[in-house]
Amino acid sequence: MKTSQSAYRLAPWRKQIQNILNVLIALIFIASITMIYLYCSAQMTKMKLEIQVLHDERSSLTRMIADNLTQEGQITSFFEMEKRARQAGYIPIDMYDEEVYTYLPVAGFQDESFSSLNGVSQINSIPVSIVKPEYTESLQRWLKENVSIKKSGDQ
């Protein structure tokens, strides 16, 4: 029976270098993955903190707007306006004396109703998160949902 045998073998130092390189490549790969993971995590954490800070700012602004609007309401309240008008020297009209006031129809005059409401701030948004679901779900869940949807769609 004839057996064949290699005439040459890799030199041991070459083999060792190859092994070391293989391990290094594996380590670099793992380190790269870890680095990317850590980088993404750090970015997301930073973003999440920013979102929280912005949310606090928004809450604070909402409170401030509400407070300012009410303070304006307080300053222009009927009793305050009446007090200021009296201080400014105005006196109430005697409605029994018809000569002190007159009725004059003015063409094109429109009642002031609602005019002050034009500035009332209205938030045109809906109470849902603005982050797309793709950014908040796992790959596993995404595959599960999309594959199952496609399957049911195929049927």
Binding site: R63, A66, G73, S77, M95, Y96, Y103, E112
Partner: protein, 608 residues
């Protein structure tokens, strides 16, 4: 070499078995139901936080857009007991003058013994202002910058205000205080879970509150998430004008106080649309101090009597009977009734208010002298069934549906009902034995002032949602009488007031109307003549009515007669209010649209 190979093989097999076992275990944990449930429950507890997010409550405005109810920021100031225990006196010295609180109260609060399970934090006030918080911050900063000697810092516990914390919160605020508070109601900001009470606040509580959601907020920093943007609750715009409301409120307050009445109510409405221009009652409370409502209001003196308190209106009701009589053809304006002073039915005699006999009277005379006998006779001429059908048609047997909470009505007893007797018909005809609210009465009378068309009363002009607005459209809810009847009755009642020279007459504007003095039945005593409900309903200008006003004084003690307390009050209020409703007087109209501007003293335009 072989030995090494076999060892390596053994190691590979052992590792394979180990990793295979780990893999199988992972597979088991991933698929086993109880393991999944456990994982999820742990995840719920540690990975997510559930936040309840509420919208800011919507505002309430008057018809011109002036704020009647809004939201204001206040601060809850608390003490962290763990660090405040050691220096209560020091904290009280600084906080008492800033928060205007009693020194001892703060000191005692600060020295409450810290207990991790029972006493961690002690709130001092829920309503600290922004200025007060700024002052606390200034003091904190000043204390932080103190330079202590090395000896002091070693021997003495550092006294500061680090234990003082504060949280902002939004609370309901009513800038006009008690103005229109009977219409607005209140939101109990100290106890929000109790929900709004009375008026617009309660009727539109759900709409004003806006959205409330529970949001699962991930605690995992790798899961980006936002707290949703919540739109504010809808804003409600009322039909009332705060200037008009204020004039009417001042007048009703003065009348109630001067006549020592239990309460007073005035409503002004536009008969062509059903819009409520003013709805004033007295007493009222400042809704910023809503807790006083239980001290002021009772079962007999409700928060908003205009819609919540049915009562026997008395002779004011005669306008309804008269309209039914004319419309049914049972009587005509010139029909004569011979008043002998009594009207007998089933052995019971009905008398006039003065117990007098007025002889032959036309229907105008009947109204002018407010003859109970005559109205009893008219009701008999109309017939029982037809009379009650008219009352139904006038909407007096149902709530009006105005957008205010707790609207009450008192069902009318009809033939066949337990409490109805044949005597009910004549007594009902002049407003006794039948109870209605002022809002029911003014809605019914609106039909007389609007060519027979009855409009649904409304006090909300529009609702502003975050993405659209709903404007209230006038709605006709029936036509109980014909346009001709409405015109005839208006003319008759205008003439009757003029002939009577009523105190209700307005200078330069011709009005129609009727006074009423309803007797009140007291428990165990029956009707007591000295205790009355004094009312007046009037509308004008008589030839094309633009307003209807209803006045009611409950149990006035100084003067019990509607003609002497409510009628002049109507005249006073409407004279002052008319220019603000952009309504010219009859004389002003004549000056504008005719070549001859009548003299101020001309009889034609002078109705006093």
């Amino acid at each position: 070499m072989n030995r090494i190979d076999s060892r390596l093989k053994f190691l590979v097999i052992a590792l394979s078995i180990f990793f295979g076992g780990v893999f199988l275990r992972i597979l088991y944990l991933q698929t086993n139901a109880s393991a999944i449930a456990l994982k999820e429950s742990i995840g719920e507890s540690f990975e997510y936080m559930t936040l309840e997010i509420n919208s800011e409550r919507g505002n309430i405005y008057d018809r011109q857009g002036y704020l009647l109810a809004g939201n204001s920021v206040s601060y809850t100031v608390s003490l962290k007991l763990q660090t405040s225990n050691t220096h209560g006196e020091f904290i009280a010295n600084y906080l008492a003058p800033i928060l205007n609180m009693d020194h001892e109260v703060i000191k005692k609060s600060a020295e409450i013994k810290f207990d991790e399970k029972k006493a961690v934090e002690m709130p001092l006030t829920n309503f600290a202002t922004k200025e007060q918080i700024e002052k606390i911050e200034q003091v904190k900063k000043f204390l932080d910058q103190r330079e202590l000697s090395s000896f002091e810092s070693k021997t003495k516990t550092l006294e500061n205000l680090d234990s003082v914390v504060y949280y902002p919160n939004i609370h309901r605020y009513y800038p006009n205080k008690d103005l229109a508070s009977n219409v607005i109601g209140f939101f109990p900001f100290l106890n929000p879970s109790a929900g709004a009470s009375y008026g617009i606040e309660q009727f539109y509580d759900e709409i004003l509150s806006g959205h409330s959601i529970e949001h699962r907020f991930s605690l995992d920093p790798n899961v980006p998430d936002t707290i949703p943007d919540m739109p504010k609750g809808a804003s409600v715009v009322l039909t009332i004008d705060r200037k008009v409301q204020s004039i009417v409120e001042d007048s009703i307050k003065e009348a109630v106080v001067n006549n020592k009445a239990k309460s007073g109510t005035i409503i002004i409405s536009n008969p062509k649309t059903g819009e409520i221009m003013a709805m004033a009652t007295y007493p009222r409370i400042d809704p910023n101090e809503y807790w006083k409502s239980s001290e002021v209001f009772t079962k007999d003196n409700r928060f908003n009597p205009a819609v919540m308190q049915p009562y026997e209106v008395g002779s004011v009701f005669k306008v309804i009977t008269l309209a039914a009589g004319i419309d049914s053809g049972a009587i005509k304006p010139e029909t004569v009734f011979n008043d002998t002073g009594t009207y007998d039915i089933m052995g019971v005699s009905i008398y006039n208010w003065d117990r007098g006999a007025w002889g032959p009277q036309t229907m105008i005379g009947c109204m002018q002298h407010s003859l109970n006998t005559c109205l009893s006779w008219i009701a008999e001429q109309i017939g029982v069934d037809r009379f009650y059908k008219y009352l139904d048609a006038f909407g007096l047997n149902q709530p009006t549906g105005i957008q205010l909470a707790h609207e009450e009505y008192y069902p009318i007893s009809k033939p066949g009902d337990n409490y109805w007797t044949p005597i009910s018909l004549p007594t009902n005809s002049f407003g006794q034995g039948i109870m209605t609210t002022p809002i029911q009465m003014i809605t019914a009378v609106n039909a007389l002032a609007n060519g027979g068309k009855m409009m649904k009363p409304y006090i909300v002009k529009g609702i502003y949602f975050d993405d659209h607005a709903e404007i209230t459209q006038p709605e006709m809810i029936g036509q109980p009488i014909s346009a001709e009847t409405a015109k005839t009755v208006t003319e008759m009642l205008a003439t009757s007031l003029e002939v009577e020279a009523s105190d209700s007459l307005m200078e330069y504007t011709r009005i129609a109307g009727k006074t009423g003095t309803g007797e009140i039945a007291k428990e165990g005593v029956g009707y007591v003549l000295s205790v009355t409900n004094a009312s007046f309903v009037g509308w004008g200008p008589a030839d094309d009515p633009q307003f209807v006003a209803y006045v009611w004084l409950q149990e006035p003690l100084v003067n019990i007669w509607g003609s002497e307390v409510s009628a002049p009050l109507f005249s006073e209020v409407m004279t002052e209010v008319q220019p603000y409703l952009h309504l010219p007087t009859d004389r002003q109209l004549a000056c504008i649209y005719t070549e001859n501007c009548p003299s101020k003293d001309s009889d034609e335009y002078h109705y006093w």
